[in-house]
């Protein structure tokens, strides 16, 4: 096989969480490119979940999907995908999640409940994930143990504070996730 091809690896990490929690901010903090927003054209599946009561059913709709890239070396890339925040686009998560190294669930202490669907999603699919609590300006600091309990996040899942705007903080979050994913793969292998 062509050396260049076999030596090329792309790794996918998802940044999930509720609408407006800072997913795009985190992607842009650590990505080497401006987060790219691609308008995804949805066909049948998207249209069916639309509430089209009394309206001619739409056959297409669009949803923005943000992603960024980190080049670790020539031929080794990490792609960060900000998952669509609206629940009705859950089926896009499904496809994005296949083959992902892991996921960061961003949480906002003012709206902790918004993180539930994402935590639930990754728990059910046994995808390695962690929770990063985005400390917005003026956000009240909470005891991590309280947040863990509120989100029903198991003890082995990392839960850390972060500042989604800060590159070093975002990097630290990704390092934590990759270490956790490696740990999970070791456990799974035994």
């Amino acid at each position: 096989m062509d050396y260049a091809r076999s030596d090329t690896l792309a790794i996918k990490i998802l940044i999930a969480g509720g609408f407006g929690v800072g997913k795009t901010t985190m992607v842009s903090a650590v990505s080497e490119i401006q987060p790219l927003s691609t308008e995804e054209l949805l066909s049948d599946r998207g249209a069916r979940v639309d509430d089209t009561s009394g309206v001619e059913a739409k056959t297409t709709t669009t949803v923005a999907l943000d992603f960024g890239r980190i080049t670790l070396r020539e031929g080794l890339w990490i792609y960060l995908f900000g998952t669509p925040g609206q629940d009705r686009f859950w089926f896009m998560w499904d496809e994005l999640a296949i083959g992902a190294l892991g996921a960061v669930v961003l949480a906002d202490t003012r709206r902790l409940g918004d993180a539930f669907p994402a935590v639930d999603f990754f728990e059910q699919r046994r995808i390695p994930y962690m929770v990063a609590v985005n400390l917005f300006d003026g956000a009240r600091r909470h005891d991590p143990a309280v947040i863990r309990r509120a989100l029903a996040v198991p003890a082995h899942v990392p839960l850390v504070p972060c500042d989604a705007r800060d590159r070093e903080s975002a990097k630290e979050v990704l390092l934590t996730l990759v270490r956790h994913a490696r740990e999970m793969s070791r456990v799974g292998a035994n």
């Binding site: 091809r5 790794i11 691609t38 066909s43 992603f67 792609y79 083959g99 190294l101």
Partner: protein, 119 residues
């Protein structure tokens, strides 16, 4: 060109024109970060759109589906339809990304960790 005098068609119109209205690629499904590599050039370019040819040029070095979509300014699923066509014609290979290929081993985890620390 006369077409340039027309107002820019809406994005949806352009997308449908590119894929002939198709929303799903032919053949086996592939990931948004699957790695695409051009393995042949067409003898006959009839039947290939400018977007097909642009994708072939981009993939002369291995490149992900996501990056091709970005460079062509096309949504990922439209990009995948085009790449599915090229694969059917035997012009590109589309290789699964790391995790789905089951190659995320200790060495790669370590390389990723080292790479992230060095950023």
């Amino acid at each position: 060109m006369a077409a340039d005098e027309d107002p820019e068609p809406g994005p949806l119109v352009r997308m449908f024109a590119v894929t002939g209205g198709r929303a799903r690629p032919v053949g086996e499904a592939f990931d948004v970060i699957a790695v695409v590599t051009t393995i042949g050039m067409p003898y006959d370019q009839a039947g290939l759109s400018p977007e097909h040819l642009a994708a072939l040029r981009l993939a002369t070095r291995p490149i992900t589906v996501a990056d091709i979509g970005t460079r062509l300014r096309l949504p990922l699923n439209i990009t995948r339809v085009l790449l599915g066509d090229l694969r059917r014609e035997g012009l590109v290979s589309i290789d699964p990304p790391a995790a789905t290929a089951g190659v995320l081993n200790e060495r790669i985890y370590q390389e990723v960790l080292n790479g992230l620390r060095a950023l």
